[in-house]
């Protein structure tokens, strides 16, 4: 039997303390989206190293002989995968499936997941961060742009939720 999810206020408080710990020890907050950009960079670098060096954006993730994957956020994401795995395991929530609403098929859901991922990956690079790296971290520091970014995320999702209702409801 699956366990109930924890109270969001309790989780929010714990997450805030994790972020505070990160600020206190490292002087920076949490994040994850750059991990995917670094994976893309490492992949292209493997196939065509001249290409990544010539590209103005990829080259930002290259520093000398060090792999673009030797980075703070990559390790943070790997930790998040382990932490999530551990929590899902003890709550008996690991189950291989395609998560979706009752009125959408598997392949449609996977295509939309791909499309949503592409948009998110692109947008996170444009905004210099995602929900955690830009919105949570920046807002806690009272960074102006991060607050605007956070409201924009909610605005974008609420404005288009109607069109995706068949995927979830």
């Amino acid at each position: 039997m699956n366990q109930r999810f924890a109270n969001p206020y309790v989780i929010g408080t714990l997450l805030g303390l994790v972020m505070l710990f990160s600020f206190y020890t490292m002087g920076r907050g949490v994040g994850s989206s750059a991990t995917f950009a670094r994976v893309a960079t490492a992949g292209i670098d493997l196939m065509a190293p001249e290409h990544t060096k010539a590209n103005a954006y990829f080259s930002k993730y290259l520093s000398g002989s060090r792999s673009p994957l030797m980075a703070w956020l990559v390790f943070l994401s790997m930790g998040a995968a382990l932490g999530g795995l551990f929590s899902a395991f003890i709550a008996n929530r690991i189950k291989g499936e395609v998560a979706r609403g009752p009125s959408i098929g598997v392949s449609a859901r996977l295509w939309l997941a791909l499309g949503g991922g592409i948009l998110s990956g692109f947008a996170a690079r444009l905004a210099r961060g995602c929900t955690s790296g830009q919105a949570l971290t920046g807002a806690a520091e009272l960074a102006f742009g991060s607050w605007i970014f956070m409201f924009s995320i909610f605005a974008g999702a609420y404005a288009t939720a109607y069109f995706f209702r068949k995927e979830w409801l």
């Binding site: 997450l15 954006y57 998040a80 996977l110 949503g116 995602c130 520091e141």
Partner: protein, 268 residues
């Protein structure tokens, strides 16, 4: 005095291990909240369950209050904490597109990791999409370069924009949060399924709200910015003390054969 890393307490390699630990806790709490579950996440945008909003906003407030109180007690030098710069136009457009990506794909970047390790194939596909999306961004970067730095306002805070000190802003954020929590609970009780929504007694919620506002009020009265500005160069003091501490510690003397540096994408 923190932040420890910026004051040289440990090197980059040790910082990477720290990242693993922080990430572990991060992923753990997200999964506890049910953020590996795509329908729980998207219910936020159909007014049925505001867990996403509550977790995000609570985390921001707790961390914000923590940073300001740490600064008041002299435990952290906020000037050394990396502050995300504001580029207003790409942030607005990026936010809107990320929101659309969220409702279309069902996840945001970190929650898709948690979903993937819970066995959700759509989470893995979403991650693949993000890698492709980052690749597309880099490939067309020359076209976007101008927009990418549009509306450059520097590393400014709400305090600069509204011309109020951090304490007043903290109080306003706390008041806004209490109001927003009250409102979203009304809404989700109306549209959501009461059996799956988390409980919590009214009395407890009221006490928590009172504590929150009290913590904000104290900050508004003492003005943390002034206290931090009046402290006699804390950096120099700690640096001396740190050198003493650093010497006998084996951890600070990790072998650093290849020289590690923080690369510029500190925030994201």
């Amino acid at each position: 005095m923190g932040p420890l890393y910026k004051l040289g307490w440990f090197d980059f390699a040790y910082g990477l291990q720290m990242a693993g630990l922080i990430g572990f806790l991060f992923g753990f709490v997200l999964e506890r909240a049910g953020f590996g579950n795509v329908r729980k996440l998207t219910a936020n945008f159909y007014l049925r369950d505001f867990a996403v909003f509550k977790v995000m906003f609570t985390a921001i407030i707790v961390c914000m209050l923590g940073l300001l109180y740490f600064s008041v007690f002299g435990w952290i030098d906020l000037g050394l904490v990396y502050l995300l710069p504001t580029y207003i136009w790409p942030q607005i457009v990026g936010g809107l597109v990320l929101g659309i990506g969220f409702i279309m794909g069902g996840y945001c970047p970190t929650t898709s990791i948690v979903a993937t390790v819970s066995g959700k194939l759509d989470g893995l596909v979403f991650i693949g999409g993000m890698i492709i999306g980052s690749f597309i961004f880099a490939e067309i970067f020359p076209l976007l370069e101008k927009f990418y730095s549009a509306g450059d306002m520097g590393a400014i805070r709400l305090t600069d924009v509204l011309n109020l000190n951090s304490g007043i802003i903290a109080l306003l954020v706390c008041l806004m949060a209490v109001g927003a929590y009250w409102f979203v609970e009304k809404v989700e009780n109306k549209f959501g399924d009461r059996d799956t929504l988390p409980g919590g007694s009214k009395r407890m919620k009221r006490s928590a709200a009172a504590i929150l506002i009290l913590l904000g009020l104290i900050l508004a009265l003492i003005n943390p910015d002034r206290i931090a500005a009046n402290r006699p160069s804390p950096q120099a003091q700690t640096r001396e003390r740190m050198e003493e501490i650093q010497k006998p510690s084996p951890k600070a003397e990790k072998p650093s054969s290849s020289k590690f540096e923080i690369v510029e994408d500190e925030g994201c």
